[in-house]
């Protein structure tokens, strides 16, 4: 399965809906998308991971890179994820302390801090 990406705007947030597998082969596509969004002036991102079937450290690296980019513009990057197998990877790597992780897009969009 490949990676699918779609974006939409909700208020001042940009929601990136990710589906499929994020690995060493597909992660560059996600990186490009995040870089493009930030270059276009979208600094408050919500990455919806509910459709993600697989995530590895390459994918984590891309998300961390995205976070660094938005923070350079005083922006934010929030994740939406309820899948235990994906959350586990964030826990193992200690990234649950780095990313705000929400249970729904609505919650992430409404969050201020």
């Amino acid at each position: 399965m490949d990676l699918s990406l779609s974006t939409r705007t909700v208020g001042d947030r940009t929601v990136v809906e990710v589906g499929g597998e994020i690995d060493v082969y597909t992660a560059p596509k996600l990186r490009e998308q995040l870089v493009e969004l930030v270059n276009d002036g979208n600094f408050h991102l919500v990455v919806d991971m509910e459709g993600v079937d697989f995530l590895d450290s390459t994918g984590l690296g891309v998300l961390v890179g995205g976070l660094k980019r938005v923070r350079a513009h005083e922006g934010s990057l929030r994740l939406v994820c309820n899948q235990e197998r994906i959350l586990k990877i964030f826990r193992i790597t200690g990234l649950t302390k780095v990313f705000p992780i929400h249970t729904s897009v609505e919650e992430a969009v409404a969050a201020t801090d």
């Binding site: 590895d56 450290s57 390459t58 690296g61 790597t93």
Partner: protein
């Protein structure tokens, strides 16, 4: 001899194939369904790391994956053919131009593996590196 042996060109697009094959053989070997996600992720991380090492080291040899069904466990070996300075400290430390890929990503991959797999061993010598991992199979665990 390995139950299934896989060799693939060191390209990112083949890592998924290695994950699928490893998970299929692990399932057949009796690895618990709940653990298959971990097997898939761990073998993917190990292969990703090997691909990165081959690419940055200009090594044209394939990455090899050995999947072995044993009596009470299922083991996976992922080997690269990138020479590592054997027990002489950090590669490149002595000024030799040993190119390592994005050290942070490399470490994150290993961090994921060691966080996931209880039985894991990482070794490297002048011929290359090997990551060995194993999981118990159904025959070794008592089902409720």
């Amino acid at each position: 001899m390995a139950t299934v042996e896989l060799r693939f060109s060191a390209l990112p697009e083949h890592v998924r194939t290695a994950r699928l094959v490893a998970a299929a053989v692990a399932r057949r070997a009796g690895v618990d369904e709940a653990v298959l996600d971990e097997v898939r992720l761990a073998v993917g991380e190990a292969c990703t790391r090997a691909v990165g090492l081959h690419q940055s080291g200009g090594v044209t040899a394939p990455v090899r994956v050995l999947l072995t069904e044993e009596e009470k466990q299922f083991s996976i070996e992922v080997g690269d053919e990138v020479p590592h300075a054997a027990s002489h400290g950090v590669p490149g430390e002595d000024g030799a131009a040993v190119e390592e890929p994005e050290p942070e990503e490399d470490e994150m991959g290993l961090a994921v593996i060691s966080g996931l797999v209880d039985d894991v061993e990482v070794s490297a010598d002048e011929h290359g590196g090997v990551i060995r991992m194993s999981w118990p199979t159904a025959s070794a665990t008592v089902l409720p």
